[in-house]
Symmetry: C2
Subunit: 508 residues, 2 copies
């Protein structure tokens, strides 16, 4: 049946048509199979390193063929699907390589002072003491009630509604509104809760595009998008390059250009995906740019996905504006706008795995809710968070203190790097310094950038994220997370990096 | 691009072929579009309820067309993907309809004694008191340590390794071994933890088959498989019917027949998927059948997925044999065998969302681990379970008492139904009676079965699962869960059902 799928339109038609159309097509298919079988193999060096990892499009994994299927007693593992072969073999970008190395030898100020310092991971440890304090005081009563006997085990143990508890959606809506400094209110019925922002992005992508469609993504962009979206959905990401000469601002003209290019290549663009505040750059989109973006997506009949997971982690003087704020005006078609949110960044709780889709499109809400069967949040965690987010005093104090600490640590890093002759982009949000080390490259290229990155990893034992992993078009930029270490570690970090930079300067 | 996908094989061929093949096909397509546009609308009752909800395969959602894209100010929501349209509109089977009705008016012995009694949901409430007791005594120290200051907030709040904590895998391996009464030991390195068995099955399916491939599934089978597997993976499920005349046993001859049929239709079968103990029938596969199954999948170069989530919920005298036990012999190629497990059934904790893939295939382990980024378990829940499953005394007591209670409740239901003239299949595991009500059908057909089911739902206000939802080929069988009510509720359940049956008998 599958190979005649293209004929379905006809098969659905009147009976008389079936044979007349089926037979010539069937002949064509057999001819095609005949050719495929008899085609000579390509020369051994013809596939590039990257295409070698791609699954063949025939549905048969590379390690198997019609003539050599594993038989009883074979020592090769039974063949998996083409897509699994691709996923299992996918070569890791520097982003993940650094992560792995760090796991083998993680720095600790006392127990492993020579270990690898992780500045490549987007975690915020600066305010975990506040969370710890809250948990120590409230854990038991959050889950088991104020006193013995309050426990409703059914509320913890049994199946839950798809898309999360309404109680959690309600406090989540309140939390999001607080994050946006009350400038906008969120409707709990438009929230779909998932086990982290990662499945939220994937489920939303499934809902907005079909295999072969594409999203335009202003770059440099978060390295995880490639995995989050491309692993299973079949959607392509098209980077829309932003440049240092333009302060890495998003240009509608560049979006327009890439959109037209894609159209020329026969690719259907379905959405613009951006992070605001930007990961990795740390800048915030201006209100005017948001208006222009909404006009652009409306004009082109696209969706707009605004990943706002760092909305509450701003530290500059610039005010963050959520895309939701502009929709309250009623000028735009809200149904094409979707926000990604979560508690991994603004509440420093990635381990709790809580993400959210906030959508204005009823079909997306219906479909994505059904998809949450694959990424539900554990009920004890949901109940814990209902308590935590209902504690207004705690939440307000946490957000205030966390912002102050982010600002302080950011300033320390910027100053420390400045001492080494390294300039940071003037960022306003997120956990990163976006760092220009281009003058330390031995060659002004991706190769040169990765060489410096490797030296910082292997000699300085500091994990950074190279701009190449973020699809940055200009070599020499690095993402440097300032929230995974303490203030006391900063001199050590700078000292370690400085040695490598000196060496690179000397041979420059 | 979308509409020429079927020609990909040709396009990959030599250049000269392209035009010669493309042109006739393009003509065919245009003809097809022409016909579709000019075809008069079908009469209102011509598409069945289920096909009306299927997405068109043209890549264009039903609510949009090339000539009427929503424009600025349009009130129709922006078009979503074809797959989302299909998911959002998918008509719910009786299995889900009953669930929804129950949510609107759930029975409670004191606060809503006339509400709907849920016997369609596979939850076990019989032993929740034991879990409750354990939590009350151990929650605080599981997460925060024995005393103030023990808390390692980093272990709770920060990112976790893909596929779950090694500590949890280790106690999970021990728990699984205990469930199998020590007959087999499990290697923690082969366990991949996911947020429930549902994403475990989906991720495994992604790994074993490509879109258009199929799994053979002995039926009656768990109604959730259709959603778990078909929603996103593009894999088809082919029921292999088991019959009452053969005690609903799996027949290798029937498997062979369906395999050949599929092959004839050009469908590539990639795996056999079964649940053992069977959901909904409740029988256990004999050791000999397991051997035959392993021979069959080896012979056909297929995978075998054994869903053993009810392995610890047996209550008969028959001994449960895990497929893992047979692999210790070394006779078979282990790499084609994969077990699904979880804590939703045997530990009564569906709300905790903990599932597992246990695979002997290194490529599946590698790929599925990467896929767990979309379905990670919350860290507080993981730590809680490490404590709970490490408590050997609690686990052993729980398993013992739970088995006794299952046996007792099962016997009560069987006896109660017998009084109504209804026979149950002799089951040995799971939460269900598999009930033969065929003699009460007004017509011996799926229609007759659904009519009785509706009356039991609407008149008796009891949710059952009709055999049709489980792809049972014989009308009149129902799945009846006996673990969601208390012993005291049993007479009420029987009383309510009996009224409907009397009415059906009268008009028979």
């Amino acid at each position: 049946m599958r190979i005649i799928v293209p004929l379905q339109g006809i098969v659905q038609g009147r009976g008389g048509l079936i044979l007349g159309s089926l037979i010539p097509c069937a002949l064509l298919y057999f001819f095609q199979f005949y050719l495929k079988r008899n085609r000579s193999s390509p020369p051994p060096d013809s596939p590039s390193a990257s295409t070698a990892n791609l699954p063949e499009l025939t549905g048969i994994p590379r390690n198997s063929s019609r003539t050599s299927l594993p038989t009883r007693g074979s020592i090769r593992p039974a063949p998996v699907s083409s897509r699994a072969t691709a996923i299992a073999r996918a070569s890791d970008s520097a982003y993940y390589t650094g992560w792995k190395k760090w796991l083998e030898d993680p720095y600790h100020p006392t127990s492993n002072p020579d270990g690898i310092i992780q500045l490549g991971l987007s975690e915020n440890h600066l305010s975990l003491d506040l969370i710890e304090e809250w948990l120590a005081a409230n854990l038991q009563k959050s889950l088991l009630g104020e006193k013995r006997g309050d426990l409703s085990i059914c509320g913890l143990a049994t199946y839950e509604p798809l898309g999360g508890l309404m109680d959690l959606k309600m406090v989540m809506a309140g939390f999001m509104s607080k994050i946006m400094r009350g400038s906008v209110s969120f409707n709990p019925a438009q929230i779909i809760l998932t086990a982290g922002a990662t499945p939220a992005i994937e489920a939303l992508s499934f809902c907005l595009a079909d295999p072969g469609n594409a999203f335009l993504v202003p770059s440099p962009y978060y390295p995880g998008f490639d995995r989050d979206i491309k692993l299973r959905t079949g959607i392509e990401l098209i980077p829309v390059h932003c440049r240092s000469s333009n302060n890495f601002s998003l240009s509608i003209a560049a979006l327009e250009r890439e959109y037209k290019q894609a159209k020329k290549r026969g690719i259907k663009v379905r959405a613009v995906l951006l992070s605001n505040p930007s990961n990795p750059v740390g800048n915030i989109l201006h209100r005017e740019t948001l208006y222009d973006l909404l006009s652009f997506v409306t004009d082109k009949n696209l969706h707009l996905i605004s990943d706002e997971v760092y909305a509450g982690s701003t530290y500059g003087t610039e005010e963050f504006v959520s895309i939701a704020e502009l929709l309250d005006t009623g000028v735009f078609d809200n149904s094409r706008v979707h926000i990604i949110y979560g508690l991994s960044k603004d509440l420093s709780l990635p381990g709790f795995r809580v993400g959210a889709i906030y959508s204005y499109n009823e079909n997306v809400i219906a479909a994505a809710s059904k998809l949450t069967r694959f990424s539900s949040i554990s009920l004890p965690t949901q109940h814990l968070l209902v308590s935590m987010l209902s504690d207004t005093k705690f939440v307000e104090e946490y957000l205030k203190v966390n912002r102050e600490r982010l600002a302080q640590m950011h300033a320390l890093f910027v100053e420390g790097l400045k001492q080494l002759g390294v300039e940071c982009f003037k960022s306003s949000g997120g956990f990163y310094c976006w760092v220009d080390m281009s003058k330390f490259l031995k060659s002004y290229s991706v190769k040169g950038e990765l060489e410096l990155w490797e030296n910082i990893l292997n000699v300085a034992k500091v994990v950074l994220t190279p701009g190449a992993s973020c699809h940055c078009i200009e070599p020499g930029w690095f993402r440097c997370c300032f929230t995974t270490v303490t203030e006391r570690d900063v001199p050590l970090v700078m000292n370690r990096i400085s040695k490598v930079l000196k060496d690179h300067k000397a041979t420059h």
